[in-house]
């Protein structure tokens, strides 16, 4: 899949960070949607399911891990990459347990982020193909 076709949702309460990140991704041919809290993220997913959601763990209102849990219940195909500013693996591991595809620590390396998005989309595609094959059988 071409990067232009990737449906990416960025969720973080740090406006400066997330909008700049979105701009950088756009420069690389990826057109993400940006929301700034957990509630908006749930609404955005309900409106249009993204391939990958980049989700900050620590946000005001609904926390990142709760958003993840709810998304995985309603939209299990959405691949979630968790962002943590703690410098700790604890939240990342907890997120993986809840179904996150991977986690990354701030500050990000954008190339690594894009690699992980690619892997997530590839994983999602393969999983969907496998599911279809199973249904066909």
């Amino acid at each position: 899949m071409n990067t232009k076709d990737w449906k990416i949702l960025l969720v973080d309460d740090e406006h400066e960070f997330i909008t700049t990140l979105a701009e950088r991704l756009e420069l690389r041919g990826i057109n993400p949607r940006v929301v700034f809290d957990g509630e908006s993220a749930l609404e955005a997913v309900a409106a249009a399911e993204p391939h990958v959601m980049v989700l900050d763990v620590l946000m005001p209102g609904i926390k990142g891990l709760e958003v993840l849990e709810r998304i995985k219940r309603t939209n299990p195909n959405v691949q979630v990459l968790l962002l943590t500013g703690h410098g700790s693996t604890r939240d990342g591991i907890e997120g993986m347990r809840l179904g996150a595809f991977d986690y990354m620590m701030k500050p990000l390396n954008i190339d690594t982020l894009i690699e992980k998005m690619d892997s997530a989309i590839d994983y999602a595609n393969k999983a969907a193909a496998a599911a279809k094959k199973g249904e066909g059988l």
């Binding site: 740090e14 960070f17 990140l21 701009e23 420069l27 690389r28 500013g85 620590m105």
Partner: protein, 578 residues
């Protein structure tokens, strides 16, 4: 970093000093004294009471055992005296009754009677017949006393009054101590006459000698005026005044204790004679009769003193052991409390570090993205003036962000024992840096720290913060082991073997060293030789870190020579790293 050193290496020493302050030696000294005093009192008061009671009971028993025989002896001797005097006076009475005045006035007949008396009874010296006027009309004996008149003498008055009389010892006409037995007889026609016999006082001495007294004992007769009737070893000669007052009158033998004129404590046994003017006395020094008691008392005293010494020794040993146990227990409790407190502090530091990391990481992320965007934009632009210069500045910002990221992660690494974070690093730099952390203390104690880092030492892939902890721990241990003025040497060199390339770091000291027994347990958790000053976790953690980093650690030590710790680390990662 000095604070960091303290956090890693010194806090347990600090905790111990706090514990030492809390477990004050004065408190234990006071407690020790109290326990010993209590134990001594509990043991010695009954022992002392028993000893005192035993002393008085034994003394009383001994006194009774001594007094009774003495009383019996005096009674027996008094009976002997009374028998002697009664026999003599009865003999004289019999003769006075059996013979008439005329017969007794016959010189030959009186001589014959006297010779029979002397043969049958010891002690008669002479025999005389005295008329009612007191004139001795007939006399048989060794003195020339015929014709002597006794009308003025006391005994004559006494016998006229009582009919029979036994005198006490007196000098009389013969100027020699003697005793007389006189009997008055009345004829049918109303005339009275007196038959008088003289007794030898040596018989008294013989009776007293038959008492078989010890050399320091004494027995004698006195009259009721206190004049000696027989000689005494210590209290006067015959007819001298007794040197102490007469005891209260009693006809039954009595015993009393007194201090005699010689200053001795004595038992005085005595008895008054009902029929004669005599008092029989026997004196025994208390010291001689209680000699056996004094021996027993010496033995008892020795047993008492030995018992006290044993009780004291046992009380001190038991108390010392008890106090030691209490002290150790209290130290452990205090140390545990301090460790909990320390853990709580570390936990607080960890939470603080996590908060700081989060607060810094978010702005860093923004800087990172902004700089990244700038770099992206510049990259998309064509050549323009100062392009390279601006790009270089942006790169610099990105490197700085990466550096800050490393710092926040290392903060968490120290405080929260984060995951192993592998990076390519210069081990020589870490060793030098860690040795530098201790330079202040080493300089203060004049400990020489020598570093020998091979310039060809390869860079290795390992965890900087974990290795910092390892080398800080090793240097701290070495510094604790060496005396002031000692030396610590650290060498780092490249190695290569079957498992590939790596580095070897040797930390050697000339400190007190360790025994073989200690070496067997040196890497076990909670094993320590610092007697309460360490947790016994330092080398255990070091061992765990080195193993996690794929390395090996070995130790050699000799008591009094020093200790050498050798660490080998792989140049790259091994399976253990995964």
């Amino acid at each position: 970093m000095f604070k960091l050193t303290k956090l890693l290496g010194h806090p347990l020493h600090e905790l111990q000093s706090d514990v030492d302050e809390a477990v004050s030696p004065e408190r234990y000294t006071l407690l020790r004294r109290k326990i010993i005093a209590l134990m001594m009192a509990a043991c010695l008061i009954p022992l002392s009471v028993m000893a005192v009671l035993n002393y008085y009971e034994h003394q009383n028993a001994m006194a009774r055992e001594i007094q009774n025989p003495l009383r019996v002896l005096v009674n027996k001797t008094k009976n002997s005296f009374e028998l002697f005097l009664t026999e003599r006076s009865s003999t004289v009475s019999l003769i006075a009754s059996a013979y008439t005045y005329q017969e007794l006035n016959d010189e030959q007949k009186l001589a014959r009677i006297f010779s029979v008396m002397k043969r049958e009874f010891d002690g008669f010296v002479d025999l005389g017949l005295i008329d009612e006027h007191g004139t001795q009309v007939n006399y048989v004996g060794p003195y020339s006393l015929r014709g002597k008149n006794y009308a003025d003498q006391r005994w004559f008055q006494e016998v006229r009054l009582k009919g029979k009389y036994v005198s006490d010892v007196f000098m009389g006409f013969r100027k020699f101590p003697h005793v007389i037995v006189a009997v008055q007889h009345m004829t049918e026609d109303g005339r009275t006459w007196i038959l008088r016999a003289t007794l030898d006082t040596r018989q008294f001495e013989r009776i007293i000698a038959s008492m078989s007294l010890e050399p320091d004992a004494d027995a004698f007769l006195v009259n009721t005026q206190g004049l000696m009737q027989t000689s005494s070893n210590n209290y006067g000669k015959v007819l001298e005044k007794l040197t102490f007052p007469l005891p209260p009158q009693t006809y039954e033998p009595a015993v009393l204790t007194m201090i005699d004129p010689l200053g001795r404590e004595v038992f005085l046994s005595y008895s008054y004679f009902p029929e004669a003017d005599f008092v029989l006395m026997a004196v025994k020094p208390r010291s001689s009769v209680l000699k056996t008691w004094y021996t027993v008392r010496g033995d008892l005293l020795f047993i008492f003193v030995a018992g006290v010494a044993v009780v004291l020794f046992a009380a001190m040993r038991v108390t010392d052991a008890l106090i030691q146990r209490m002290k150790e227990s209290e130290e452990r409790r205090e140390l545990a409390l301090r460790q909990v407190e320390h853990s709580q502090k570390l936990s607080s530091i960890g939470r603080l570090a996590a908060g700081v990391a989060h607060e810094i990481n978010n702005p860093l992320a923004i800087i990172n993205e902004k700089a990244g965007l700038m770099k992206d934009i510049i990259a998309m632009q064509g050549e323009f003036p100062a392009r390279e210069k601006i790009l270089a500045q942006v790169e610099s910002v990105l490197r700085t962000v990466e550096r800050c990221r490393g710092i926040t992660h290392r903060m968490l690494g120290f405080a929260r024992r984060m995951d192993v974070s592998i990076e390519e690093l210069d081990l020589g730099e870490i060793v030098t840096e860690c040795a530098g952390f201790l330079s202040n203390e080493a300089m203060h104690r004049k400990v020489e720290v020598r570093l020998d880092i091979d310039p060809l030492l390869p860079r290795i892939n390992s965890d900087r913060s974990q290795l910092q902890q390892v080398f800080l721990n090793l240097f701290n241990n070495a510094l604790a082991a060496v005396s002031d003025g000692g030396h610590i040497e650290a060498t780092a060199r490249p190695i290569s073997g079957e498992e590939g390339e790596g580095v070897e770091i040797v930390v050697a000291d000339n400190g007190c060293g360790m025994s073989d027994e200690t070496l067997k347990h040196i890497f076990e958790p909670f094993f320590t030789t610092k007697k309460g000053k360490g947790t016994g976790l330092g080398l255990s953690i070091t061992y765990g870190i080195i193993k996690r980093l794929g390395g090996e650690i070995a130790v050699e030590s000799a008591q009094g020579v020093g200790t050498t710790l050798t660490i080998t680390l792989p140049k790259g990662q091994r399976e253990a790293m995964a």
